[in-house]
Symmetry: C2
Subunit: 258 residues, 2 copies
């Protein structure tokens, strides 16, 4: 069934309405008319099944049929912190990471970032990334849209570590031997701790094409991160976060893992 | 260190030589000259460290320094059978699947394939896909290049199931509730079997954009496949194989999992 994310104001006890691109999509592309149903979510807290009462390409009104459970969100809330990659790789990370089940994305700058990041274009870029997250969340039948944070400096990122229950830093020293423990070993040890929260916040930090410097790895550890390796093959920057996220959610019991 | 895959004839006890694009890459792009080292592999059995004796853009000769261990290949040999997706998604599956550690790829046709597959272009397409696998294997420091099989019919694919130790069929019924067991449950149960080989061959079957029909799922089960789900979010066709592959390798103990 078709899904749309709307603002909180557009979804009430009475029903919901669509405007703009969503209304056009529902009325024109999906050819919805009176009596058709769709699912609508405010992207943070509430999801409902609604039924069209009036549809035009400018506005679609629908009445509430029933509130639905927010049932497709992972218990482990994983944020991918991705050092700015080249080209449109960040878009791939956001699109695929949203499908797989990431909770948020934080682009950040590290020493070996090779792109010249233009801060003046930040608003436009964030808007584009947020749109990709919204569309991927709709397609994947997520209940929430992952948030896309503004680009952070290395300092801002390390200062934010204490907000998380676990900070994982994907690290391969030059020469490409992973120097961290395997991700699986770290996760199983951590899972066994009695103090671990049931719905932990986890930060997964991934370098750009050039990786991290040794100094950055040391600073990350000093700030509370755990160095981890993702196996014996060298993953491209845009692949590492998706693989790490998948392993985390698999270990958490999503995908029938436990 | 730079890596190249060459034919068996190009790698002997005496050393190795590069020609064509590889020679050009080594001599021009990497500016290698006498005394520089690189790693060379025949893509199936042998990998060696060699040292340049003579370099030109047409041919690079190198002498053997030492044979290296084939150490970066996963113990679980996973073949991704991907029902033909639209656009260039197959290329993404091959590139990322090679990085993550797939052993082979089998494109195939199922009922709901939406692309018109032109069999006349098969040779050219296979060549392109094989080149993507070779480049991704070099980049990921793999010892082997995954093989790309010719496009198979549904019948040919089901007939090949007995060649594998485990056949996993990713399936979501219309309405998008997964009807298979979670992948993790299936894998742990299977791992515990005493008869399981230490280096199993596993076939992971993924549908195209339109998914599989109920009849196809029934036929797959009748032919020996196990239906599995990959969690509560709906993955795009090009994401499902990569996520499934990652979960398999994580469960096998790659990435420090066990």
């Amino acid at each position: 069934m078709q899904r749309y994310f709307v603002s909180k104001e557009q979804l009430t006890e009475a029903g919901a309405f669509l405007t703009g691109e969503d209304a056009h999509h529902a009325a024109r592309v999906m050819r919805m008319s009176e009596g058709d149903s769709f699912i609508v979510s405010d992207g943070t807290e509430r999801t409902a099944l609604v039924q069209v009462t009036e549809a035009s390409p400018a506005r679609v009104d629908a009445q509430l049929i029933e509130w639905l459970e927010m049932s497709s969100e992972p218990a482990w809330r994983v944020t991918i912190a991705q050092s700015l990659p080249k080209g449109d790789k960040m878009e791939l990370v956001i699109q695929k990471g949203t499908e797989i089940g990431a909770c948020a994305f934080i682009p950040f700058e590290s020493e070996r970032v090779v792109v010249q990041y233009d801060h003046k274009k930040e608003a436009k870029r964030l808007e584009r990334w947020s749109k990709i997250a919204k569309e991927a969340a709709e397609q994947a039948h997520r209940n929430r849209i992952p948030s896309i944070e503004p680009v952070r400096s290395w300092r801002e990122l390390t200062a934010s570590y204490p907000k998380y229950d676990l900070v994982l830093f994907c690290y391969e020293r030059e020469g490409h031997e992973s120097t961290g423990q395997g991700l699986g070993d770290v996760l199983r040890e951590w899972k066994a701790r009695e103090t671990r929260p049931a719905e932990p916040s986890i930060l997964l930090i991934v370098g750009s094409e050039g990786g991290f410097t040794e100094r950055e790895a040391e600073e990350a550890v000093a700030s509370g991160a755990v160095l981890v390796g993702l196996g014996r093959r060298i993953l491209r920057t845009e692949t590492a976060g998706l693989v790490g996220l998948t392993c985390l959610l698999y270990e958490s019991g999503e995908m029938g893992g436990a």
